[in-house]
Amino acid sequence: MKPSVDRIGDPWGGRVPHGRHEPWPARVDTHLAEGVEAGMVQRWVQAASILHSDGDAMDIAVVDGRMVGVRGRAVDRVNRGRLGPKDLFGWQANASPDRLTRPLVREGGRLVEADWETAMGRVVSRSRELLGEQGPGSIGFYTSGQLFLEEYYTLAVLARAGIGTNHLDGNTRLCTSTAAEALKESFGCDGQPGSYDDIDHADVIALFGHNIAETQPVQWMRVLDRLEGADPPRLLCVDPRPTPVARRAAVHLAPRIGTNVALLNALLHEVIRTDRIDHEYVRTHTVGFDELAARVEDCTPEWAAGICDVPASRIVEAAELLGTADRLLSTVLQGVYQSHQATAAAVQVNNLHLIRGMLGRPGAGVFQMNGQPTAQNTRECGADGDLPGFRNWQNDAHVEDLARVWNVEPSTIPHYAPPTHALQMFRYAEQGSIRMLWISGTNPAVSLPELSRIRSILAQERLFVVVQDLFLTETAWYADVVLPAATWGEKTGTFTNADRTVHLSDKAVEPPGEARPDLDIFLDYARRMDFRDKDGGPLITWHDPESAFEAWKRCSADRPCDYTGLSYGMLRGGSGIQWPVNGQAPGGTERLYTHGITWAHPDVCENYGKDLVTGAADSAVEYRSLNPDGKAMIKAAAYLPPHEAPTRDHPFQLTTGRTLYHFHTRTKTGRAPQLNAAAPDVWVEASADDAARAGLGEGDLVEVSTPRGTLQGRLRVTGLRPGVLFVPFHYGYWDTPTGVGPEPTVPGRAANETTITDWDPASKQPVFKTAAAALTLVARGDGTPAPAPTTTASAPTAPHGVPATTGGPAAHATQESAISRDTEEGDR
């Protein structure tokens, strides 16, 4: 029996309860296009999701060279066959009729079709000109969090050693750079300590600014299954919105936006005051405890209550939960990373685990989550502001080692300063020192803050813009050359999820028209530019995904993210494997730091740390004296007020975020009918109190304005914390009449029209969550409710009149438990 479930109306599907310390039972989710039966599928091709950071393993169904559906992989450790709504329906976007099928070049101000020869010729001749006139610092690369490992690595080699530029970053800067920085600050090195299996073992799960139900729906299914099973965990939720997590939490704290450090300092204060500390762990494995204890001494719950506007008693309850946990699992995401004092706050969560000795055992783990699906690979491969293989740009031995791998002189690889972060690259372009920007797989004209500024930078005559993407995005409108790319399902490669699990994703169908895999485009560019190593041989010696993977393995050897024991053969047919995989750990590594801290030694560590307030870099000497033996570092931080506070003119705090049915700038999810129908347009959320005070109701058309810009949307009244407005981010303009941005006839729609240009000084992650904003009525509603889902944190407080979000027959997917699957296979 295969129950069929509307996975828009019931996004998490049915429960398969499991008790504590029991393995999570499989449940295989399948969605096939209308009229296609399982028996008609000619091939099932192994893949994994790139629509969020879980990397849910799945098989793509192929009929006559077309994708016709997906099915979860029951054997996989990450999802045990389950798929989220984005996984189930997102694949349809691949076949959209508006895919780019030929390169475009700008002629007389307009983009016109061209062949690859012409398009690449222009990119290469502009690159050569700029290298000759201005040097490598005039060229920058801004990539994605959705390409494959092989592609990032190739890009990193060609940018850093071929061009020799320091300007290479990914949009992972917007979603995951704080995770990486927080891990480096505490453990000296990036790499998630825990494993998703920790969900099966924890007795307390604390989610800090992490709406896991919408951002990682499959792992939320796992939590839900535990909540229904024996000995369920208790949840702590820190979030200003009434998320599905908040509804199931034992304690929910909804602090004022921008006050995370104050709240965490109070939680640490309580844990230390009640002496719920693993003194042995602190002594053996950490440095810096005394400073933390001194720093939080005055941070009482009453003190924090004043700043965060949550009851002190609730903070005490939360601290009890954290302090009495036997196996504590914490997760952190954008509510912390895209907010004020991002790194400082994320590091305090690490501190909580260090002082409680909650690391390296089943159920005791910390997740500094990733937003983007292949974010981990940009970090490992050095495509996001780090050097490949977690090498330390300040450590000459590391740079020499990298130069040896690439067979170039160390001076070829820029390492006089940290790799330039994304927002600084746009600043250099604004000033005119960067003259060429190659944007691959991302859409900054929607996703970066203060969009009018970003549009004016991209529109500059002197800036040569190359855009490599699937569709004519808002950003592509500004390009001088547009390169049509193949995507997931149309190319082969590997990628790594938030818990270090590496998956292989195979090519299932041909890309449309002349679209090419990103890897082929980068290799073509490298060949045309004729990049050479120091002996005159070609700098890039590989030619396809598997040979690129083998090259990466050599670069990762003996580094923490060691892939040397992996191969395409091992990944194909089986399940994902967690790095490091090498001689000592041939089957992969489930948890890091099981026997103390491994990679923080001064000779090994990925960076020497930064000042959490100023971002000033510490030197090797300072690091050595602070941490000579390479222990974990407990780093205290004082609370600072946010940079933009509400005023009389802008009385609200505006926060933005991702929601269940859309991903990134909706280039794919907006083209998947079921996902688009569930959340077709932007909306604005306000609390019932604030709406009543302003005389506003469900469905009223409102304007949100900040000193940077405005947007309009219909109002949804929810259980959000008073004083806050929420707008889902990344609604853009490709599906509006202008196609590119707001105009007199098309009001602002993207949340980033309004967000502030400001970033965390340590991680350089932009702040998308602390703008001060005003809310005004544009037009009374006509009875149409806001286009916001009712199944999520956007659920209306007064449900009458708002129809429930459902998907109808087109959104049905089957789910079959492992047992019925066995019998069925037995039947055959």
Partner: protein, 163 residues
């Protein structure tokens, strides 16, 4: 005793100057968003230092002012802000930025040396009040220096090679 008064006075002066430098840096370089925000954040430290120096000074028969006001940036600041926006998309302001960072760095270094002197004098005279003051303020002065130093280091390769 007079030497200590002198040191307090000099530091008080120096920290007030640094507040001024940092606020100028912040306003003049509004389009350098990180500079703008962090300069404002670390100016708070110097403001606090000025206040604590003034409080301590009363024990030494010395009357020093509190920190400079910060509420209205005034006409000049408004002009500087406009200027920073107008020139925000040209390369030359990069040089101005490096110069302002250098001046701020030197001002912080100057203060750091004086905190050092004050701490030494406090040790010699077994003055625990002074020692406590210096040891709680001096680390933040060092952080201000490290910040300006880091920014100069990170920005100068691009700004100086692109002219």
């Amino acid at each position: 005793m007079n030497g200590i008064k002198l040191a307090l006075r000099t530091l008080h002066h120096g920290e007030r100057d640094l507040v001024d430098d940092l606020m100028k840096l912040s306003e003049r370089h509004r389009t350098e968003h990180e500079i703008h925000h962090v300069a404002t954040d670390v100016a708070i430290w110097s403001r606090e230092h000025v206040q604590r120096l003034a409080d301590t000074a009363t024990h030494y028969d010395l009357d020093l002012d509190g920190p400079p006001g910060n509420s209205s940036p005034g006409l000049f600041a408004a002009l500087r802000k406009k200027a920073s926006e107008v020139t925000g998309n040209r390369p030359e302001p990069g040089l101005l930025l490096l110069r302002d960072l250098r001046e701020t760095h030197l001002a912080a270094t100057y203060n750091s040396l004086h905190w050092e002197m004050l701490a030494q004098a406090a040790q010699a005279s077994k003055d625990t009040r002074l020692l406590a003051l210096a040891s709680s303020c001096h680390p933040r002065t060092l952080r201000q220096m490290r910040w300006t130093n880091t920014m100069i280091k990170n920005l100068s390769p691009q700004l100086l090679t692109s002219l």
